[in-house]
């Protein structure tokens, strides 16, 4: 089978090329992400109107919703990398599994904790065993499982293979988290954002949320490049291209 983007994928999946690309893109993505996040935050915390029911507590949304979205998105990226690593044994895909897992766990943790802090004034409790919350917690443990399995096995390639299987199987949790508020009667409110034509919240609240989305996603990309760069360096430390970088720089 021939895909039009295959030559491009082949080119960037070469470790030295990817490493150099990562070095170039980390500061660009990091700074742009930071600027978007600052604008989104000032807008969301300082200028968006308070909610008619939740008052100012709704403003936790600007970190909670992007974190929760990333917790699912990063898992999906990790599972797709796992399929590629498992089927084609592409080294970069193995690196991507282990580069994504900690940052996915980070955003899942943030989604859970900020949600919990939001829950206290709105629901009267920090935690309930509600489907949405429970499966998000399971997702956090799945990230831990992938990291633990990979680090427990000395041979990185064998470890990546084991972690890939766990990551692939665990993808079932992603749609369960996403649809949990639809399938079950949940304490958790429904989605604030479905389509651009029909948002569930006012535009004055939605625009800063979208800006935070862009910012946090760029930030995520920067961190993925940071982590995959480290992993590549360790895995390939005995190759000629790493030698060249050690001697002459990038």
């Amino acid at each position: 089978m021939k895909f039009p983007f295959m030559p491009f994928l082949h080119r960037i999946s070469s470790p030295p090329r990817f490493y150099r690309m990562a070095c170039r893109w980390i500061p660009r993505l990091g700074w742009t992400g930071l600027i978007f996040m600052l604008v989104g935050l000032v807008w969301g915390l300082g200028f968006a109107p308070p909610d008619y029911q939740q008052g100012n507590a709704f403003r936790i949304m600007y970190i909670h919703v992007p974190s929760a979205w990333l917790s699912l998105f990063i898992y999906t990226v990790m599972a797709v990398s796992a399929v590629i690593a498992f089927v084609w044994r592409i080294k970069l895909a193995e690196v991507m599994i282990i580069a994504n897992a900690p940052i996915g766990a980070t955003f899942t943790f943030l989604a859970l904790v900020t949600g919990s802090i939001w829950g206290k004034p709105m629901w009267g409790t920090y935690w309930v065993w509600d489907p949405r919350l429970t499966f998000e917690l399971i997702l956090l443990f799945q990230y831990f499982g992938v990291i633990a399995l990979y680090t427990a096995i000395t041979d990185r390639r064998v470890g990546a293979r084991a972690a890939a299987i766990l990551a692939m199987v665990g993808i079932v949790t992603v749609p369960i988290v996403h649809y949990s508020v639809v399938w079950w009667s949940s304490l958790h409110q429904g989605s604030s954002f479905k389509t651009l034509d029909n948002p569930a919240i006012a535009w004055s609240m939605l625009v800063p949320l979208l800006i935070m989305f862009i910012g946090t996603n760029l930030f995520y990309l920067a961190v993925v490049f940071l982590r995959s760069r480290n992993e590549l360096l360790l895995r390939e430390k005995q190759t000629a291209w790493v030698g060249e970088i050690l001697d002459k720089g990038v």
Partner: protein, 54 residues
């Protein structure tokens, strides 16, 4: 309309969420960045000592 970042009775919830997020996000960027510097230093030393030859 600017609200002076005044969160009223929800201040403690809003600011603790963002304070935590700030710490966690800064750490998740800075830790791998410092690891990279450290790795480069260690690998350069190993290379000079000839311990990275195949």
């Amino acid at each position: 309309m600017f609200n002076d970042f005044n969160m009223g009775k929800y201040a403690v919830y809003v600011w603790s969420s963002y304070g935590l997020a700030l710490i966690v996000l800064v750490a998740s960027y800075v830790i791998p960045l410092l690891q990279h510097k450290k790795q480069l230093r260690i690998l350069k030393r190993q290379r000079r000592a000839g311990r990275l030859e195949q």
